[in-house]
Amino acid sequence: MTFVPRRQSDVAPRSAVSNGQRAGTAIKGAPAGFFLNPAAILVLMLSLFPFLFSLGMTFTNWNLLYPGVDFRALENWRRLFDDETLGRAVRNTVFFTTAATILEYVLGLMLAILVLQIKRGQRFFRLIFLLPMMISPAAVGYVIGRMLFSETQGPINNILFRLGLPYVPWTSNPGVAPWTIVVADVWQWTSFMFVLLLAGLQSLPGEPFEAARVDGASNWQIFTQITFPLLVPVTVTAVLIRSLELFKLIDLVRVITAGGPGTATQTVTLYVYDLALTRGDMGYGATVAYALLIIVILYATFYLWLTRRAVEKVA
């Protein structure tokens, strides 16, 4: 008879939390490993091996241009601290990550709030704002970075000229070039923030807003005291994902400025690429990659520690 279990299931709450808590009670006789192991083995093979192998490389002087590989202990790791290009690359990477994440978040949030306020054309704007995410960063780099911002043949300088404004050295001036990269990244990835924040706004409960409106709160008060605090969890995730991606930035920079002028837009990942593939210096390239890995892990740990309090305060 199936009578008793059925009645139980009818009474059981249907929330995600209860499912999680009761994990392990449903499927008897099923080999749990059948579900998890294939994925676990593949991820182990494709990520653990490369990372261990790279770690081994950091202790050698392996260079593709010269024969022979010798063990060099921590020589590569010591080299990190005297490497001026690396210092510059780290500062640039931190700048790109900070500037682009903040701009993308603020723009994405503003656009999401505004889209929800309009009556007609909501779907039209949503679809258009989603577009940049669908395009390959390589194409975005060439079309935006190289074509639009071309200093002599690009429409942007041409429009500035027609308006009687001065030419801007978008990619040839070391002070301007980093901002050109940021603009290209913002163009492409504000869409990501927009999508996440729009979904976040739509999933907010209605009651606090109605109560605030009854109390005569201004729009600004509602935003700072209700909307934003309720959005903290989504914000934490969205900012984490975008900043981790930006730490790895290479596509756009490689296409738009190739790290130049000089080292003005060099990023850590691009530097690894140059070291290993242009100069053949695999040992040191792997060491720089590992240094980035350590920075990212420290950053993510610190970020999660810092934001956990903010999230807990809301919940």
Partner: protein, 280 residues
């Protein structure tokens, strides 16, 4: 009157941002209809007014002056195979993590799930050099199979994370009653779980397809010639002599069409896939 004005004020920034997004796309389209001489002569904006549109870039593509059939096929195969494989394996792992208690030494389900997603946080630069060597010895360099395997590996953690969230939110009463009625766990998974998870699997699959289709860094290192993909082909229009803007624009449009169409048609699913895990 002022109320009307204020309500419509929201349109101003929205329209500005829409222009910011559409102008580069417009520029790409008109550039693909320009002759080299039009580009060198100066900046021109409006076809038939500023310059005479020409089909020569598109003719070049159609006549195979720049081979695109192979890159399109390579991109399609690598993206399709890897997203199906990642969604299949990731769906199973996500289901397992939402329904069973695992123990890997001191690690429980939560730690295992975090271990998976942390694989995606790591900078690819550390892995890429080892990948090239590994693939060289496995004879997977410059092959679609190699690219598909690499993409499956990158996409898998993401798929597991999304699908685990999806299954946690899926009520399990149906599975329970199926089991109680004497169906085997395999039948239950096949008949009950799989049909219910189609929306989640589809959303994840579309996202992963778009990521893989657009991926450039690994493709440029692991598949440079025979297995060349669309993004690598686009970048290849930048030669030592200069950039062939008209061809590059046409290529970029061709490579955009599938993902943009997917994006527009399945916007709802993409949003759902992206927001799984981010919104509770």
């Amino acid at each position: 009157m002022s109320k009307l004005l204020r309500r419509n004020l929201a349109y101003v920034p929205l329209i500005i941002w829409a222009i910011v997004i559409l102008f580069p796309l417009y520029w790409m389209v008109i550039t693909s209809f320009k002759l080299p001489i039009d580009i060198n002569r100066g900046v021109s904006y409006i076809p038939w007014v500023d310059f005479v549109p020409s089909l020569h870039a598109w003719q070049d593509l159609l006549q195979g002056a720049v081979p695109i059939a192979d890159p399109l096929r390579n991109s399609f195969l690598a993206a399709t195979i890897s997203s199906i494989a990642a969604v299949g394996l990731g769906g199973m792992a996500g289901y397992g993590l939402s329904r069973f208690q695992y123990r890997w030494g001191p690690w429980r389900n939560k730690d295992i799930a975090f271990w998976f997603i942390s694989q995606r946080m790591l900078p690819p630069a550390a892995a890429i050099l080892a990948f090239m060597i590994m693939f060289k010895y496995l004879h997977l360099l410059d092959s679609v199979a190699g690219l598909a395997i690499a993409y499956t590996g990158f996409n898998l953690p993401f798929a597991i994370w999304i699908m685990r969230d999806f299954f946690l939110a899926l009520p399990r009463e149906l599975e329970e009653s199926s089991l109680v009625e004497g169906a085997s766990w395999l039948t239950t998974f096949w008949r009950i779980v799989l049909p219910l998870s189609v929306p989640g699997l589809a959303a994840t699959g579309i996202l992963l397809f778009i990521f893989s289709w657009n991926e450039y860094l690994f493709a440029s290192l692991l598949a440079f010639e025979k297995a060349k993909t669309m993004p690598v082909t686009i970048a290849g229009m930048a030669t030592a002599i200069g950039i062939r803007w008209w061809l590059m624009s046409a290529l970029a449009i061709v490579s955009m069409v599938p993902t943009v169409l997917l994006g527009l048609l399945l916007e709802r699913y993409i949003v759902r896939g992206l927001t799984a895990g981010a919104i509770k």
